[in-house]
Amino acid sequence: MFDFKTSLGQANFENPVFTASGCAGSGKELSQFFDLAELGAVVTKSIMLKPRSGRATPRMAETPSGMLNSIGLQGPGIDLFLEKDIPWLRDQGATIVVSIAGESVEDYAILARKLRAVSGISALEVNISCPNVENRGQVFACHPTTARAAIEAVRRNIGGELPIIAKLTPDVTSIVEIAEEVISAGADSLALINTVLGMVIDTNTMRPKLAGKTGGLSGPAIRPVAVRAIYQVHEAMPHVKILGMGGVASGRDAFELILAGASAVSVGTATFGNPTAVIKIKEELRAELISHGFDSLREAVGYAHRPEGNL
């Protein structure tokens, strides 16, 4: 019997294929295409303290083998989210990972306190790839000190139970440095990678296409960046579990991230091109692992790091 189970920190999952935060809402819209309980987990769209309109439109631009987005974390705020989305997801039998995002260290602390007593959540993904209003809009995950502060605030307030997955941006000089910092600050595992900062200029209007000017690049175009980041971090900290993401559109792609060191994989942009992508990828990944002779997913995690000479 092939063993597809995986874990991130103390959280266990039936299979390693998740939705990516911001690419599946809170699951409702995908549930008409498949049963959410079939997923390793639903990772919900990053939720903030208060309701947020998000950025003005245009919010997206297609790019070669990818897309830019600048949603600006539109959402209902944590209270409405806990009142409506979480009970609904629980009713579906979904495994839930809640993603949170803050504008200040205090935001993260409050979000963690609001979540600590909520039942039915398997883990917290802490999106620290967002602008810190207290520090000239600099992204938390871009600097060791602010990355640490955000994660410490969550750790202090979440209590002992709920595992913390810190989600990092690749837009840094050394992602290993940031990864080490957030792990020492109390994160249990890491989510790699968030989108890559990019821009498209509309050559008709001759201005940036997105209202927010810059946006986050996602999709297959960035997969080599994701694989590199996961590989580097797994090499530096082989015992830290990684939730990998970035351009996964097939079981082969998911397998590539797992060989690099991911224990589970989130699927984002691929869902936009194909509403059933997550299910397809899960089945393809299982077949891929079996055809390469693995008895379990766990054996394949980081397998690309084995010493030369080993088969």
Partner: protein, 285 residues
């Protein structure tokens, strides 16, 4: 007019025919039972570029009409303007080719329960969904006037059989190559008055919809319009396609045009807000 379209299915649909009509391509797909569940105003989302395409997102097209011929024979038709790489690719596919298609998506035009006097206004390929709508309205005993506008005659989509169900048809082109020279908004006020229009249904470029809306609101005419916002997913999960809409509670929210639209109440839209979030919008900071 809101929420998830529970009928949406993902299928591989074979192209049955693909014909150039004026500036557009009229493309017919074999979709089986899916044809039953589509309503006027709904759209389809189609993968473009084939395998190994650099284009990762689907393209949205309004459903022109459907034919229910049972499980094997259901047809779905669209009208495509060759615009950029994706739509041009689609217009180049030949009968027999299968595309990955999700439909029906989005909201439909609201159908009045009693016979009303309706004005249908289409800009360019925006006329396409109006013909299916007019058939439904006609079957409900409505009187239907139709105005179609475009920059030039080649961009007026008005098939003969489509015209059957309307009581009057006015065409307007900016260059005067067919019909009246001008814009649709030049003739709408007159028709509203003469024919005592109760409701306007419109589909076309945002600028046109906005101008129609001004006329409709001034005259107290209900205005349902099908809007066109750039969409990444088409199914409500990405939040790229939003626009500000005032709810019944008076609050402006950024709603998704793919599931709370494309058909929306023109009077509730905060028009001309591109590149800004209107003051007072829920969650604006």
């Amino acid at each position: 007019m809101s929420g998830i379209n529970r009928e949406a299915r993902q299928i591989f649909a074979e192209i049955v025919s693909n014909k150039k009509v004026g500036a557009y391509h009229h493309i017919v797909f074999s979709v089986g039972e899916l044809a039953n569940s589509a309503k006027p105003g709904n759209f389809v989302a189609i993968s473009v570029g084939g395998q190994n395409s650099a284009m990762v997102l689907r393209r949205a097209f309004a459903i022109y009409r459907t034919f229910d011929r049972g499980a094997s024979g259901g047809l779905l038709e669209i009208v495509v303007a060759p615009h950029g790489a994706g739509s041009i690719w689609l217009t180049n596919q030949l009968p027999g080719f299968k595309v990955d298609l999700v439909a029906p998506l989005g909201t439909a035009f609201g159908i009045p329960t009693e016979p009303v006097r309706a004005l249908l206004v289409g800009g360019g390929y925006g006329s396409a969904p109006l013909f299916g709508l007019s058939e439904v309205l006609k079957s409900r005993g409505c009187r239907i006037d139709m105005v179609l506008g475009a920059s030039t005659a080649m961009k007026i989509y008005a098939p003969l059989d489509g015209k059957r169900s309307v009581n009057s048809l006015t065409t307007v082109t900016e260059d005067g190559t067919t019909g009246i020279t001008g814009k649709v908004t030049d003739v709408i006020p007159g028709i509203i008055e003469t024919n005592q229009i109760d409701i306007i249904y419109s589909c076309g470029p945002m600028g046109m919809l906005e101008a129609i809306n001004v006329i409709a609101q001034e005259r107290g005419v209900v205005h349902q319009c099908a809007i066109e916002e750039a969409m990444a997913c088409g199914i409500g999960v990405c939040m790229t396609c939003v626009l500000p809409i005032r709810g019944e509670d008076g609050v402006i929210r950024m709603l998704r045009s793919c599931i709370d639209g494309p058909v929306v109440d023109g009077g509730s839209v905060i028009w001309n807000s591109k590149r800004t979030i209107p003051e007072g919008t829920w969650g604006r900071n």
